[in-house]
């Protein structure tokens, strides 16, 4: 309860300050509409369903990107990580593709797939896949060899090693990879939607700028922030708490 109040209070103060600034007349309303107007616009967009459509488009792309790339990336990361000859060779390559991930692929994606959801999803896939692949690979490679040996002396076969040692051992890294993937993915998505599609939150706010609809833009920005916080709090943090923290391990970062 108290924690809830503490979390909401700063936002309440922020909205009050915003309202005061908008009322002061110091900025023209087209620059900064008052919160009430933004709330009204949000209400209208919720009522006519347009906000839902854009939110749905963006969320659907993120979900699709995650659903396709995470299983592929974890599988690839584990199998490459198992291969002592291939792993040290592919690790820097994956690192390079990480540094390229995101929006830099957009022109090539448009050339290959045209404007539309395929290009946008391709970019999301690229971003999430390489981050998760790289972190899985590094995670697998840093699982203490002794744990593998211990399970082998218990009669464990390759299947046991993969499922019971390597994947759980790499999980702190995998979770970090997914978190970074979602973080970079959301950002790339918003930028890509501005350019390459006619749906989604990125398109919504960029299009609104053409008509100087600052109220619509602010609705979009608030939706983006809220959605990201919700994904993080409702999906990523609980996963981390249930695995990594319960086992007394520490999450490792890696961009």
């Amino acid at each position: 309860m108290r924690a809830g109040v503490r979390g909401v209070l700063p936002f309440a103060v922020l909205v009050l300050a915003w309202a005061a600034l908008a009322r002061s007349g110091w900025l023209p309303p087209v620059f900064l509409p008052p919160p009430a107007e933004v709330a009204r616009t949000a209400g209208e967009m919720l009522a006519d369903g347009s906000l839902w459509a854009h939110v749905g488009a963006s969320l659907g792309r993120v979900a699709l990107g995650l659903a396709v790339s995470v299983p592929l990336a974890v599988t690839a990361g584990v199998f490459v990580g198992l291969n002592r000859r291939l792993a040290p060779v592919l690790e820097p390559i994956a690192g390079f593709f990480n540094s390229l991930s995101g929006i830099a692929w957009l022109p090539l994606a448009i050339t290959w797939f045209g404007l539309g959801w395929l290009s946008v999803t391709f970019i999301l896939f690229n971003t999430i896949f390489f981050l998760v692949f790289f972190n899985t690979l590094v995670g697998v490679r840093t699982v203490p060899r002794i744990l593998e040996q211990a399970v082998r002396t218990l009669g464990g076969r390759r299947r046991h090693l993969i499922l019971q040692v390597l994947i759980p051992g790499a999980l702190p890294s995998i979770v970090t990879g997914i978190r970074l993937g979602v973080g970079f993915g959301w950002r790339a998505l918003i930028a890509a939607e501005m350019i390459a599609t006619t749906t989604g939150l990125g398109y919504l706010i960029y299009d609104a700028a053409n008509f100087h609809r600052t109220d619509t833009i602010l609705v979009g920005i608030i939706a983006i922030g809220t959605l990201w916080l919700a994904t993080d709090r409702l999906l990523l943090i609980p996963v981390e708490r249930w695995t990594v923290e319960r086992w007394g391990l520490v999450s490792r970062t890696g961009v």
Partner: protein
Amino acid sequence: MGWRAALATWAALLGGVLAAWSLAAATLPMPAYVLPPPTAVLEALVDLARKGILPTYVGESLRRIVQAALVAVAVGVPAGVLLGMSRRAAEFSYPLLSFFQSVSGIAWLPLMLIWFGFGERTILIAVNYTVLFPVVFNALLGVRSVPQIYVNALRTLGASRWRIAWAVLLPGALPSIATGVRLGLAYGWRALIAAEMLVGANGLGFMIFSAQPFHLTARIMLGMGIIGVLWTLLDYFFLRPLEDATIARWGLVQR
């Protein structure tokens, strides 16, 4: 496996990829712009370098990201440390910072277009915003996670607030700050590319984006390669050593 074998595998892989790429470009029944051969990328490099376009664009992009990095360190670190010094201020600003951190600068771009116009100023502000928030956020987190005993130890010696900040909080928060700088710049570099695509008249993002409608795919690939290489160099020779050094030397923060 020795480094010689790793290098050999690396060279073989690179050669294989280049050969497969050339072969695919030569034989696949597609228009040339879909997959130009590696030689075309090389030609684009020579051509753009000779015309002086490439050095200019690389210089512009680097100038913007370095400027944003300097501002983030000069403003973001002190701001984060100051906020972290007071428990109240930290609790108040934490939710706000995590919200603003999660909305990338690109999402603010439409609003910034209205506020600051279509040009350089908007690019710089969007990139600065993107780099700044992770730095402030992580500086605050870093200060808050310095164990209280160090602070108390100095207090019993009669140290002032500012001496404590300088002697304990800042060094204690450095690993976290280094992580924040690295993450902020990783986000910022991508935001820069996106902003240059949307608003720019020069820079690497502009280069690859403006090449797309003319199907200058070799130029796109060249730009992507440079974007990846620049980031890899920056990360490998500057950001990663910074992070490793602070963690190794000041690794008193439990992470």
